[in-house]
């Protein structure tokens, strides 16, 4: 239990440094990337490309093991179907991302430097998750 938390702390710290170093925490850069019909800023292609190339290369070796180092088994989604929920949810997320330039990771990272925008965005993010829970339960 304790070792799982230490491993997660290390992973989270690496993730956070990666977000800050790459420029992902700067919503101006994110919106510049999404603005392909305006002043397109290709920087984020390097971030997403670097991250995805790394996981595509290394996940194969990790998953070839029967189980992770500190836990009994890999906890992976085995959902396969593409339904309206997946497409609708992704579409709604994209609209929110395109408005302000924050996805969840960079928004949380902003809390670390007490970014005034993160202090507005993150509570709204939590409220949105809560809203989904309420709607979904009925």
């Amino acid at each position: 239990m304790k070792r799982l938390s230490i491993a997660a702390l290390a992973s989270g710290a690496m993730f956070g440094i990666g977000l800050a170093m790459s420029g992902m925490t700067d919503p101006r850069r994110v919106l510049g990337f999404l603005d392909i019909f305006g002043q397109f800023d290709p920087t984020l292609m390097f971030v997403l490309g670097g991250a995805v190339a790394t996981t595509m290369l290394l996940f194969r070796f990790v998953l070839r093991r029967g189980s992770p180092v500190l836990a009994a088994s890999f906890q992976l989604s085995n959902l396969k179907h593409v339904d309206r929920r997946l497409l609708g949810g992704a579409a709604i997320f994209g609209v929110g991302w395109g408005i302000a330039g924050y996805c969840p990771g960079p928004a949380l990272a902003g809390l670390g430097i007490r970014s005034p925008e993160a202090l507005w965005f993150v509570p709204a993010l939590i409220a949105g998750s809560l809203l989904h829970r309420l709607v979904h339960r009925t």
Partner: protein, 139 residues
């Protein structure tokens, strides 16, 4: 290649390594929206590692932005109403679609999930369309 692009690439690789570390050691997917949700609405004993992950992310990113020279600084002039509307949509959408940029993007594509690839194409498309609408049609 400019130093901005090199830092972007290095940061991206670091994000990929962080996700690999979590999968290798804990067997878990580094999806931020899912991890946050697991802390907000705990229904298992997995709150501790999720909290530790978020703590590490927030603290390390904060320290980097505060102390590393020329680190990108947060924006501060976006309209609050826009932040609230965007936050609500991102929170609702990522729960409905079961993932965000990290879960579907970095991890899902990393394990060659078609479902995640379709989700990424969908949110990229609506994000580009929304940015276009806000920047070029609205104003």
């Amino acid at each position: 290649m400019s130093s901005t692009w090199l830092l972007a690439l290095a940061g991206g690789v670091l994000i990929g390594l962080a996700a690999t570390l979590l999968l290798w050691l804990n067997g878990r997917v580094a999806g931020i929206s899912g991890i946050l949700n697991g802390v907000l609405f705990p229904h298992s004993r997995d709150v501790a590692w999720r909290g530790a992950f978020l703590l590490g992310l927030i603290a390390a990113a904060g320290i980097y932005m505060a102390f590393v020279p020329r680190a990108p600084q947060p924006r501060a002039d976006f309209p609050r109403a826009g932040l609230v509307v965007a936050g609500l949509l991102v929170g609702f959408g990522t729960r409905m679609g079961n993932g965000c940029t990290s879960g579907h993007g970095v991890c899902g594509i990393g394990r060659l999930s078609v479902r995640s690839l379709i989700a990424v194409c969908t949110f990229m498309a609506t994000a580009v369309a929304t940015t276009f609408a806000v920047r070029h049609l609205w104003s």
